[in-house]
Symmetry: C2
Subunit: 485 residues, 2 copies
């Protein structure tokens, strides 16, 4: 918020910020309180590491160092540091880089264990979200966002979408998602409809929804936007939109008529978490110039009671559909799409108010502030803004561009301070598929080798630490470490 004040900028959703927050009738304040506890609980684990290690560094190299350091760690961090590293400390002083990396991985494991329960709760909520999707005429929702750590809280925070069965999430630098992979997922979802009648039977004309999420920064658009597009918001928008159209055409061409896919484009302002929803027209087409700015909508509906505010949201969708000029489209989207958009806008109003209440309207960490690099299919338990830079990849070769961006961010965040880059490799396996676990372990070792090779200079200087783990697909399963050689 400091920068906003320095710039004399008025908050787009609530003019009294940062002094005093606003209260919107559609906001779920209990959920906000719960989410803040969670954000604090997770971030604290990481943020206590550096001060604690600084204190440990000051303990000297006496023979009581290992014991005293371990006591400190237990007391301040809630976990132990690697004994072997502590016991070696008398020779050349403690290896703070190794201790730091190990502490980050322990904090991560602790957070996963602590919030595994939450995932089970979320799954119950997810059933409600699945039902909503089907009610809105969708049998699957596939969301691809940018890998940027500031979008790491996209689902539980920004959009308030729980871990639902019908929702698939992925992240790529610059939202440049993999069209071929999505075609396969489309097939997978479609086949389930035919074979299992899940979630709708194939004769019901429900649709597959592909969503792309780009981002920008309202406070510092030229520097704090999407790095993959040189902080050019227009470029980020157009790139995401182009992929959406490529995906739709790929399905239409491969499966012709009646292949029923909808596309939706969403932008996030990573300073306020307010979203922008690009309203599709009656043909399902999306325009960079036809959208609803949810910060403005929140502000406009602040004085209304819940019922009227809800009506105003639908009215905003109607008004957006009537956009003239560059953003002009052909009529309104179908009922279910309107209802889904309204739900997303209303959910996001809670998040706008969350950032108002707990972060003064604008995040203090306007830029990157990731705690580690997450490689693999992600930790569903730890989805909080700026907790991790997330690269969703199957090979270093294909994911090299995503990894390079992450390493570049951490050169600035960590290496410049003398700290190593902690990289957590993590994949889920399916206990029901024979050999799946062993294959995932092999995959993690292969990827670890690839990363060590690609950033050999960092690894050699002790500025890169890797940690591997697998987890069964069943929600709430324990994290199991994979030994890397």
């Amino acid at each position: 918020a400091a920068r906003a004040e320095a710039l004399g900028v008025e908050h787009p959703a609530c003019a009294t910020l940062p002094a005093r927050g606003c209260r919107h009738a559609l906001v779920d304040r209990n959920e906000n309180a719960r989410l803040f506890e969670c954000e604090q609980g997770i971030k604290d684990r990481f943020d206590r590491i550096v001060p604690t290690l600084q204190e440990i560094a000051a303990l000297g190299r006496g023979s009581d160092f290992p014991g005293r350091a371990q006591d400190w760690a237990r007391e301040r961090l809630g976990f132990e540091l690697p004994t072997a590293v502590l016991e070696r400390a008398w020779v050349r002083g403690p290896d703070m880089g190794a201790l730091y990396a190990q502490a980050v991985f322990s904090a991560l494991a602790g957070a996963v264990a602590r919030f595994g329960d939450r995932i089970r709760e979320e799954l119950a909520a997810g059933q409600g979200w699945d039902a909503l999707l089907v009610d809105c005429g969708f049998h699957a929702m596939n969301v691809s966002a940018c890998a940027d750590g500031r979008l790491k809280g996209l689902f539980p925070y920004v959009l308030r979408i729980p871990a639902a069965n019908l929702v698939r999430r992925s992240a790529f630098a610059g939202t440049l998602f993999d069209v071929e992979e999505d075609v396969r997922h489309w097939e997978h979802a479609e086949l389930r409809r035919y074979r299992e009648g899940f979630p709708t039977t194939a004769d019901v004309p429900t649709r597959y929804l592909k969503v792309a999420v780009y981002h920008g920064s309202s406070l510092d658009p030229k520097h704090q936007g999407c790095a993959a597009h040189g902080s050019n918001e227009r470029a980020a928008t157009e790139a995401a939109l182009e992929r959406l159209y490529e995906f739709r055409r790929a399905i239409e061409n491969a499966f012709c008529c009646g292949a029923g896919t909808d596309i939706l484009l969403i932008g996030v302002d990573t300073d306020t978490d307010a979203i922008r929803v690009h309203v599709p027209d009656g043909n399902g087409d999306v325009s960079a110039y036809r959208y609803i700015d949810n910060a403005a909508l929140y502000r406009q509906t602040l004085t209304l009671d819940a019922d009227r505010a809800r009506l105003a949201v639908y009215e905003a969708i109607r008004a957006a559909s009537a956009t003239e000029g560059w953003g002009k489209g052909e009529g309104e989207p179908h009922d279910g799409m309107r209802r889904l958009i309204a739900t997303l806008l209303i959910n996001n109003m809670s998040q706008i108010e969350y950032v108002g209440e707990y972060h003064g309207g604008w995040y203090g960490d306007m830029g990157h502030g990731e705690r580690f690099v997450s490689v693999g299919d992600g930790f569903p338990e730890v989805q909080v803004r700026n907790i991790a830079y997330y690269a969703r990849l199957d090979t270093v070769e294909e994911g090299a561009a995503d990894l390079d961006v992450g390493v570049k961010i951490f050169r600035h965040l960590n290496v410049e301070r003398g700290l190593p880059i902690p990289v957590a490799l993590h994949y889920h396996f399916n206990e029901q598929v024979p050999g799946s676990r062993a294959r995932m372990e092999d995959k993690i070792r292969r990827i670890a080798e690839g990363i060590q090779g690609r950033y050999a200079h960092l690894a050699k200087e002790g500025l890169l630490y890797l940690h591997g783990s697998v987890q069964d697909m069943a929600p709430g399963s324990a994290l199991e470490e994979v030994a890397l050689t």
Copy 2:
């Protein structure tokens, strides 16, 4: 055949070989003649390269060298050599490695152009094969073999399976195919049944057939078997069988009841091309110890007329199903499986006789004799024994083991003679999928970079040459070169 004579070995299918071949009533000799023309036509293109370049090397370095060399090349090879390389020759003599690699790629392009027509003919035959599969109760046949070049003629020669719509082919070192990828193909095939009723509608209880092909050498089993399994035929058999079971369980677990998959295991003797078919039992289970040796079956049925020989083939399947001891199973496979096995055995009898007639019963190139390394999804036009070591991969990272085996083979075949390793990268694109061509070109450049990085020492010494090309999926499309940097 020389080695067989030296060893005093009798040919397992025809005792009078190599002096005189046998004539079996079920063999298609016209097709054999046509196939031999094709084998010669393709191999000749490659085998003229070294002698021609040796003559060119002897031309001296006079000012007329580029012209004379080019004339020779045109006359003897049917294509031109790169002018720039010839014109540089006066400085340090001609760069024979570069000329050799270019000539290999030109020979390959020539063979693809020449036999593109054959693919179109084959497609007509393929419709017949598709119909046979459906008649046998299969809606897809997915065959994975070893990447070994001696199996490169598996489809058109050893098994006589044309390029059919319902047949999918892949190759991996040691037949260690990718279970996850096959699950996706299973889904793809299944979805087509539901959405398009192709080739059968979903209510028809046809089955998906997964075939694994391993190989061994009857003349020198300890040295000329499958390199990926240390020439241990038992290990090669068990590994292929285990993957088959993993695939079947993966489908059953993911899609439960009625997921209808059949598995089939086939072994090839790369000296004689005679196959061994492991007959599934009534439950669809396969045993390493229950099989039909087609060389023996050919020999036993040599005196019979076509009708009786055909009956004898079915009798052999029945007898195999009655195997006692380790290979004991539970009854006979279903009718369609029996018919498919009989067809494969009869087809392979033609190949046994082909090797007898045109190669004296045993191939002269008993070991490796590949002309180039083929990386990508393969050249359907050029499927001839020992023409290429074939690595089917999407990333160097995942395919590293397959590539290493190929490079090891070519160190022996080429590098030891001072010749470079020619690697042809080739993928098909789908003109109907937007951006597919550009993505394939990017992929080829990425893989080329990966290969150059992995074998940097070879590349630096001019012992590794890469060539990239793409081709539209439509059969008979032209090969289009992709410039590599």
